[in-house]
């Protein structure tokens, strides 16, 4: 395409597209930027601001300082970290093993075909909200943080993604290890997994995002506030009907006015969305390859 000399009309269209895309970037980013600006604002000067804002009103970190005083927030963070630790550990090993099994050829592993059918059925049929909830109760996981970890440990999507990745690795690499007397475990942990780092990174990103952002299961499986993960705590503070940042008279106790509350809410929004947003740009280069296989999984 670039072999042809561009005429003025093409250049004008190009410029128009560039401007349009910059406009789109602004729309995409603005809601988050707005919250960033508010969270860094000085509550006293915020009172004078309304409508679209393009910079913090004054500057203060009071919102972020108040974060630490919000009841339950740090405990929520700890619960999320606890859940995430086990979810990542489980997801990485289980996906590796499961994908290894799936990536074998049927002629070498007899029961593979049956297992694939058993698993594929779950892609199209599942239980209802209530039957999942009853299961959690019957397993004795109700009001236990493991109710949020256990159901997600086996992820079909991740296994299929990893399976596709394993299959893209030349068979010769495996064969060489087998010649040297290596069994399934050696092939998986010494050969395939080290080579599948990009796929593992994509799965890491998915797991971190899912765990960090999940709140609904916590809402239906947990009753004790001490076990709430961060997003459920946040939900009760900023994003459900009757949400109250400083419930039960805490506001009065801390002497917080309306505008400080605004700043604090914005700081909560930023705090609640950071880890996946920080992680994503670093792992983006892996996403390009891994994602395509994953998004086509059906």
């Amino acid at each position: 395409m670039h072999k042809f000399k561009k005429n003025p009309k093409t250049i004008i269209v190009d410029l128009f597209l560039a401007i349009l895309s910059i406009f789109l970037i602004v729309i995409m980013l603005y809601p988050m930027l707005y919250e960033v600006f508010i969270s860094l604002s000085d509550p006293k000067q915020l009172a004078m601001q309304y409508g679209l804002i393009w910079h913090p009103a004054g500057f203060s970190l009071i919102g972020y300082r108040l974060l630490f005083k919000v009841e339950g927030l740090m405990r929520g963070l700890w619960n999320t970290i606890y859940i995430m630790f086990w979810a990542i550990l489980g997801q990485m090993t289980i996906t590796g093993v499961g994908a290894y099994f799936l990536s074998r050829s049927g002629s070498k592993v007899k029961w593979r075909k049956v297992v694939v059918i058993i698993i594929l059925i779950t892609q199209y049929f599942g239980g209802t909200l209530i039957s999942n909830w009853l299961l959690i109760r019957n397993l004795g996981l109700y009001n236990n943080r493991w109710s949020l970890i256990a159901p997600g440990l086996v992820s079909m999507g991740n296994m299929i993604l990893m399976n596709a990745y394993f299959r893209s690795i030349p068979e010769e690499m495996e064969e060489a290890t087998r010649m040297d007397g290596g069994g399934h475990l050696t092939v998986l942990f010494r050969v395939l997994i080290p080579l599948a780092k990009p796929a593992l990174m994509v799965i890491l990103l998915y797991t971190v995002t899912d765990v960090w952002n999940g709140w609904f299961n916590a809402k239906i499986y947990l009753t004790s506030k001490d076990l709430y993960p961060l997003q459920l705590v946040l939900r009760n503070l900023i994003s459900s009907e009757g949400a109250d940042v400083m419930g039960s008279g805490q506001t009065l106790a801390m002497g917080i006015d309306e505008y400080t509350l605004e700043v604090l809410k914005a700081a909560l929004v930023i705090f609640g969305s950071l880890p996946p947003l920080i992680l994503y740009p670093f792992l983006q280069k892996h996403l390009r390859g891994g994602l395509m296989i994953g998004s086509l999984k059906g």
Partner: protein, 319 residues
Amino acid sequence: MKIALHRKPKGVSSQYRTTLTFKKDMQRNWTLYLLFLPILLHVIIFKYVPMYGTIIAFKDFRPNLGIWGSPWVGFKHFIKFFNEPIFDRLLQNTLRLSVFGFIFGLPFPILFAILLHEIPFKKLKNTVQTISIFPHFVSTVVVCGIIRTFCASDGLFNTILNSLGIHLGKPLLQIPEAFAPIFIGSNIWAAVGWGSLIYIAAIGGVDPEVYDAAAIDGAGRLQKIWYIMLPSIKPVFTLQLIMSVGGLLNVGSEKILLLYNETIYSKADVISTYLYRKGLIDMSFSYSAAIDLLNAVIAFILTLIANSICRKVNDISLF
């Protein structure tokens, strides 16, 4: 998926060509089976047991009697749901949100992918793409928190409306008619970048020489888009279409649960939020399971219909 899972083994070495006996299979693969056993058990416990649990939709489930011990009642709960006074409202709301979400949500990722392909500056292109995916990683709770801020009575949207001469004087989330635009608009905002990835890949799969050849034949930008790019995304688009048709009765209930309130139930209450309230707040287990099951069955039928239509029309199908 089928392609990935059922690839024919290439270069099967001669020692494997003989049929695999049970004994030989176990000898060679016992570690493999042992490793996979926990995964299989997990699938059975967390996927198949809930499937079995769904039979409570045809029973009057009482926790002390257990799933099997509870008495059968046939289609009682289904009939009750159809006779519910708010049944029409639930169906209308569900269809309004999903059909409009579908109509407005489907073209944006495609337009965005085309735009991205046409941006002439590589740096700008990469930046736009990176930023467009950002909203996908923001949690629903946070998105709804932002929506609440923007929709507050003195929030951004009301300030803008005020300057246009429209004074509502109350939060937008208490106005039933405003719910669909807020819900669908924010969904598009969150999904456009991520949704476009699959189209970008499809467009990227076209050999650049095809464009060069078209240019030699005198094709302009629009003609290249129309005759090269759009056909290249047709298969992916068809698959997306089939899947969205299957999801017509499944509106994102998590987000609605965060955003709605009783003043806007008339436009915001959908089947999935209703079954959530019935099941887990009112504890009508069987009734809720029946609605859920009905939803799933309809979704499955819709998928099958869409699938067979697409297979007939342009020979592309999910299965």
